[in-house]
């Protein structure tokens, strides 16, 4: 499988919304390659006709009535916000 180069690390960082300085990209590429090469031993395993396992719990998800059972807690929801005004979360300007 393909090696992770500097450009790929920059792309992943962008997708993950983590700013990584240019001078750190090479080092990180080396580390990620080390981990991914170790992981690639999975290619030895024959998984033909094996269903992917997403959960260890066999049970089906439970149904419940679609009814409001919570709410009216705007203060609590906003309590930990780094910046909240007029009952809203606020962020830097998005639209000019």
């Amino acid at each position: 499988m393909s090696d992770i180069d500097k450009a790929t690390v920059a792309k992943i960082a962008r997708l993950a919304r983590i700013r990584i300085e240019d001078d750190k990209l090479d080092h990180l590429a080396g580390e990620l390659n080390g981990i991914m090469h170790w992981i690639e031993q999975l290619n030895e395993v024959n998984t033909d006709n094996i269903a992917p396992m997403a959960s260890v719990v066999d049970a089906k998800l439970r149904w419940r009535q679609d009814e409001v059972n919570d709410g009216g807690i705007q203060d609590k929801v906003l309590k930990n916000a780094p910046n909240a005004e007029y009952g809203f979360f606020t962020v830097p300007k998005v639209i000019e």
Binding site: V9, A16, I18, V45, P52, S55, V56, F89
Partner: protein, 493 residues
């Protein structure tokens, strides 16, 4: 007067039942012990006032005839359980200042059962680590040291604060969580008893999520009996967690009969690792002899996909983590960093760059990579299929045996910095614990001996889904056979 912090939960419970001890006395002794144990760095927040209020309430309830399983017992809480109005950051910088407006189900159950909170416990950041070296609050020190040495050792991870507080007599028990071994491996490194129940036994509501298909709460205690008492008090169905299983919780303490005659104990041949220290092989062999002496039948078994468990885990867990940790964006809680004149995307990127530590960043990057377009099938889907094969290995094994016995970790505790430069060598610490996490089965680590340097070693017991009782019963037999009298020399008080 005896040192109250050295009592077991069971002994303190019985003394309080007889009226010979109050929770107030017990809690005051522990608050002092927590302060004195600060050199261990086990606690990241101490809550002495809350503890005393809970202790007084517990004493009043006992007087009123309403004593429960944990009434008046002071415990520590791992920093990833949401505790209303109290520090809850999973030891990450990105959750700076976060004090939840709600309580996790696990801690709520503890308080409902009468327990007393001493504070919040250090851990690897977001539970990502095997040595407690990734915490934003600094590393935790293992109360144990090699004989004649002043060198500090890691306590294991990620539940490093949980095990250090319990081994260091600064809590009678502690909550912990296990995603790939974070309860069992640190228990082995500190001579404590750690048990992770079946996935679905404990509610994940209010636990800071790492990898949701793997995360499971459990307990750290000094004895198996204490583990049975505390574990029972946190298990049970919770409609607030969609993967919580609606099954009655047995009386775990009653499972400690000491009788394992006729029980079939499986020894997986794939766990004989090349290069594993001889004393760990010897301890395992000793465990097998203890099983035979107690009347159990020992059976060789195969878990053929064992060697693929770690690489599978290092796809599945980072993939889920990259998704779970997307919520830390600087908008709703925790840290916010806005570069000068920066917009929304700049804020996300700067906040996450400043807020996450290196190991967390590495895992988010791996997770993002394996889930990205073009790689999803080759990595993530492949790992999910191998996970099925690993789970099938256990299913087949449990057709032949009742329980599986292995070493908990491939080494004893190591010194600081010894493995932190090489991520893969650090990951190998969890080689024996990860398979059971992937399969969701219950597992425990019980202190079974010491290595040549005098550091503790653990044996791991794995059971069928929802058969924690057999895991506990076998743990009890090993604890009794090992009869470990050693305890860490108190250097931190």
């Amino acid at each position: 007067m005896t040192d109250l912090t050295k009592l077991t939960i069971a002994a303190a419970r019985d003394l309080m039942a007889k009226g010979e001890l109050s929770s107030r006395e017990l809690t005051e002794a522990h608050i002092k012990a927590v302060e004195a144990a600060r050199p261990l760095n086990a606690y990241v927040a101490e809550t002495p006032e809350m503890a005393l209020a809970q202790a007084d309430a517990a004493d009043a309830k006992r007087k009123a005839g309403d004593a429960r399983a944990m009434t008046g017992i002071p415990v520590g809480i791992k920093d990833l359980f949401a505790t209303k109005g109290v520090h809850t950051q999973a030891c990450s910088h990105i959750l700076d200042g976060f004090k939840p407006e709600y309580e996790s189900t696990v801690t709520q159950k503890l308080w409902d059962n009468g327990a007393v909170m001493l504070g919040k416990l250090n851990m690897d950041e977001f539970a990502m680590g095997s040595s407690n070296e990734t915490s934003y609050y600094g590393p935790v020190k293992n109360p144990w040291r090699a004989e004649g040495s002043n060198k500090d050792y890691v306590p294991g991870g990620s539940s490093g604060g949980s095990v250090a507080s319990v081994a260091g007599y600064a809590a009678m028990g502690a909550t912990a969580s296990d995603t790939g071994g974070s309860i069992r491996q640190p228990a082995a490194f500190t001579g404590t008893y750690g048990i992770k129940p079946t996935y679905g036994r404990c509610s994940r509501y209010g636990m800071v999520a790492f990898a949701s298909s793997l995360d499971q709460a459990g307990t750290i205690t000094r004895t198996v009996r204490d583990g049975a008492i505390m574990l029972e008090s946190i298990c049970g169905f919770d409609p607030k967690d969609s993967t919580s299983v609606n099954m009655p919780v047995p009386n775990f303490e009653a499972a400690l009969t000491g009788d394992i005659r006729g029980l079939k104990v499986g020894i997986p041949q794939e766990y004989h690792l090349a290069g594993m220290p001889a004393e760990i092989e010897a301890l395992w062999h000793q465990g097998i002899e203890w099983m035979k002496a107690a009347g159990a039948e020992v059976v060789d078994i195969n878990l053929p996909h064992t060697k693929y468990a770690l690489p599978t885990y290092y796809i599945v867990a980072p993939a889920e983590a990259s998704s779970n940790l997307a919520r830390y964006d600087g908008v709703r809680y925790g840290l916010r960093v806005v570069p000068n004149g920066g917009g929304l995307n700049d804020m996300y990127e700067a906040t996450r760059a400043a807020g996450f530590g290196d190991e967390v960043k590495r895992r988010i990057m791996i997770g993002t990579y394996v889930l990205s377009a073009g790689y999803y099938d080759a990595y993530y889907l492949k790992a999910q299929k191998v996970r099925q094969l690993i789970s099938d290995d256990f299913k087949r094994a449990f057709e032949k045996v009742d329980v599986i016995l292995t070493p908990t970790a491939p080494s004893a505790a190591f010194a600081f910095g010894e493995k932190s430069d090489d991520p893969v060598s650090m990951y190998l610490n969890d080689v024996f614990t990860v398979p059971a996490s992937l399969a969701g089965i219950p597992g425990a680590s019980v202190a079974a001996g010491l290595d040549a340097q005098g550091l503790p070693l653990g044996l791991q017991i794995l059971g069928r889904p929802f058969d924690e009782e057999t895991v506990l019963r076998v743990s009890g037999v090993i604890e009794e056979a090992a009869a470990l009298k050693a305890e860490p020399k108190v250097w931190w008080r």
